[in-house]
Symmetry: C2
Subunit: 521 residues, 2 copies
């Protein structure tokens, strides 16, 4: 089989790889890479929460490799997603633009999150320029490993949007679907479908076993080694999905965590990232490879304790614009360039990774589009740590600006967890948490008098401020006004209720993958 499918095979493959690296490494000794265009690796976790890492306070302390990555790099306790849901967050990362600007949102109802389920025909607009497209200008080779989530029709797939390689799936690994009406999600190798989840790519729903993370790691190594051989700078977008429900881990990790299956998945990702960073050092490219670790949105608390992570001290989780929905674990690593053991309190977000990557690569940003991402290099390289200190963070659901953070103050213009209707079916975005008038099941408008929290004193958003209210508001209001005045929303691509965006998925799910290639191993 093409992939190492058993535990033993994984070990053997790793040994072979190490041997191979040793040869490559020797061949490269004395050829330091070009620091002007460093390799860029973005490690994007799926539904992992801020509180899932030891360094961010997870009591189980089971992420020694990520904790070591932080000790060797820069930790960002104030790092944000661009949206509390997967698809828009990922679209924002790759475009450097808020979902309301790049089209990855819906206007079907007020303040609704939207993503790309199997049933949707929408996808990333052809007008949007993605990071790998920009990096091509400097000769970067780009690969995405894992979840895409920017549309599953052929014209939306990664290789149409600047990536040179892809291993992974267009959608979440929900399933198994064992009826003919709803097929399992396809897994691609570049433009070819090479199988489907639960079929060629097993995920055992009973035991939680799957070796997908190991495959993702191998795919990363293959790509890196190829680029070293070709002497090309590379961009690796490693979007592993083991921590998204249904969570999974490979056999050596199952049952190892104090936290159950979710923790097993975290341990395997931690171990994989540890091996990746070790490989970069072994290959002697660590001084020429910028690595950034983060997650796409907050822990999916509504998935329950067996399938979801921790948002630490923050309020609520995925789908909400409270801190638990959008505050992300984040670590930057670049030995020799980023000072080890540092903490940056800079407010930053996934869109900054677009702009920062361009700056690192030496590519000018596109001048005909508005970017929301900022260039973090003055902070990362400690050239001008205060350069971006007044930048705000915007929290959206759909096209509604729910909240804004400026400094330590966060103003909520709308508050909402989820609808009564949904809540009564047992779906709870804030289990065990309740802030009266804030975590409500109706959408509460506060636009005339936003609720303001001080996130330094009160990271859990439990105590609205009173004393310094007017002062805080007077600083936030002009920022919001300016943002709204200059914002031009684009056409929403995820309007689930539009016939044009939705089709009967049974047909499309079967047909699209086969349009590219019918046979797979």
């Amino acid at each position: 089989s093409y992939y190492c499918s058993t535990e033993m095979a994984v070990v053997l493959c790793s040994q072979t790889l190490i041997l191979f690296w040793a040869i490559i490494c020797c061949a490269l000794t004395g050829k330091p890479g070009n620091v002007l265009s460093p390799n860029i690796i973005i490690l994007l976790m799926d539904d992992m929460g801020w509180g899932d890492l030891g360094v961010f306070g997870q009591p189980s302390k089971e992420t020694p490799n990520l904790d070591a990555m932080a000790a060797q790099g820069m930790l960002f306790p104030n790092f944000y997603s661009a949206n509390p849901l997967c698809s828009p967050s990922r679209a924002a990362l790759l475009t450097g633009r808020l979902p309301v600007r790049n089209g990855f949102y819906t206007t079907n109802a007020h303040a609704r999150n939207a993503y790309t389920p199997q049933e949707i025909v929408g996808g990333i607009s052809k007008d949007e320029i993605l990071l790998p497209q920009m990096l091509k200008k400097k000769g970067y080779a780009s690969k995405i490993v894992g979840k895409w989530h920017l549309g599953h029709r052929p014209q939306y797939l990664p290789l149409e949007k600047g990536f040179d390689e892809w291993f992974g799936a267009p959608n979440c690994h929900f399933g198994p679907y064992n009826n003919s009406f709803r097929p399992n999600i396809p897994v691609y190798k570049n433009r070819e479908m090479v199988g489907r989840f639960y079929e060629e790519f097993q995920i055992d729903r009973k035991t939680g076993e799957s070796n997908l993370t190991q495959i993702y790691l191998e795919e990363a190594f293959d790509f890196i080694l190829d680029q070293i051989e070709m002497q090309r700078p590379f961009f690796l977008y490693w979007a592993a999905d083991a921590t998204h429900a249904p969570v999974y881990a490979s056999k050596p990790f199952l049952g190892k965590s104090q936290r159950g299956r979710y923790g097993d998945a975290v341990m395997e990702l931690d171990d994989s990232i540890g091996r990746l960073l070790k490989a970069l050092r072994f290959l002697n490219i660590e001084n020429n490879t910028f690595v950034f670790f983060t997650s796409d949105n907050g822990a999916a608390l509504s998935s329950g304790p067996h399938e979801s992570g921790s948002n630490g001290p923050f309020l609520c989780g995925k789908e909400t614009t409270f801190e638990g929905g959008m505050r992300e674990p984040a670590i930057a690593w670049w030995p020799g360039h980023i000072k080890e053991g540092t903490v940056s309190f800079q407010l930053a977000n996934v869109m900054d990774l677009f702009t920062t990557s361009l700056a690192l690569a030496g590519v000018s940003p596109p001048n005909d589009t508005t970017l929301d991402g900022l260039n973090l290099t003055p902070v990362l390289l400690n050239q001008d740590p205060g350069a971006l200190q007044n930048r705000p963070i915007f929290y959206y659901r759909g096209n509604e600006l729910m909240a804004v953070r400026l400094g330590q103050y966060k103003a909520h213009y709308w508050t909402w967890s989820n609808s009564w209707k949904q809540f009564k079916t047992g779906i709870n975005f804030c289990p065990g948490q309740e802030v009266p008038g804030v975590t409500t099941h109706e959408q509460k408008e506060h636009t005339m008098q936003p609720i303001i929290f001080h996130l330094g004193r009160d990271p859990g958003e439990k105590f609205p401020i009173r004393l310094e209210y007017q002062d805080a508001l007077s600083r936030i209001s002009p920022v919001v006004e300016q943002h709204k005045k200059t914002l031009t929303p684009s056409v929403p691509q995820l309007n689930m209720c539009d016939v044009a965006v939705m089709v009967r998925f049974s047909l499309h799910q079967y047909i699209y993958p086969f349009l590219s290639k019918h046979n797979f191993k």
Copy 2:
């Protein structure tokens, strides 16, 4: 003045001290201490929460010295208080016995916490043997710096219970009381009252300024240097109270934290402990000094965001038997003996510090009393890390066993936050948190069918387990039965409603301090 009362004086004093150390240090070079009876330092914080340290996930990451202490020592993420309130917790630490055994509890009403306010005449029973009394057998000199809280009548004070020196107060630093009916809390130097809070020992309620932590640090240094000179092993019990409301910090720290005044207090304590550890190294006694850092109970969430800390991902706070009430930050430090950068998942508690200290000192435990504390040295010194793996943790309010933890399972036999009556006055032990049927305002009995949580998957106690319920219960039940069968409660010392225990405090508060000495500087 006896104390450095201004910022500049503090600096000058420190410089003088450093010079003094340098002399002492030279004098001691080549005289390694006796490892069989190492010095013991217990740093006990007041109302500091598990989530207040960077290493435990505080987003502000403002405890670099404590984080470094953890990196140089052993971190305990599963460390507990013996009670969710100050007095009983402190009594348990110093006796190695649960409050229900050592008498520091009340039976006035069901499941009530009790402590020693100014109004009480009760105190630690004369039958209880305290740690410094035991350590005397090996020639240890003992000092308490800071809050005592085991009774304020003359017969209960520290020097009657084995301590050789004391600087601090018998009660909390509430105040100022500016009427003749209720005097301010006295501050003692050994047996003499040397002033009162808000009078000779200023705490500015408006600005939060007080140099008490600096004084406490100096008192610690004075004692350590004296014992080095005398070549005596020492026990220092450093019970600083800056993080107890009203929180305070000295001028150089005021306004420095992202977290407001509470964070300022944490920063000053962190800085002080950093200086203390540095001094131990400088004095060349770090290999002969066991240092343990922890707190007396969970963060006092009911004090509001300006005056309370963080319990990280845990449920509720001080006064409750949820994790937020009793899980404590904990770090052991002993260079050359405790392996650096280790994490122990051992369930442990403050009472273990009694038994562990005896073991370190080479003193046999008293054989006529039941101890609840275990000897942690097999874990600390990595001799037998699994030796204590099945030990339970008991959570009491008054004489009611509210909950038990065994492994990852925690069974609640009674659940309660606080009364409706108290709640309606605005006192909330679980602000922003609500677990239906658990964080209730009536005492809920579950003795026939305890609510069980898996703290690995669900540290926040939000999702009662169902699947493995019977299995977990069958393991916990015999432990609880055994505990109850062998438990002999002692006479409660804190029955506030008994005339014998309470007196009109106005009289006693004035008279007691003067019984020892009338004049003070």
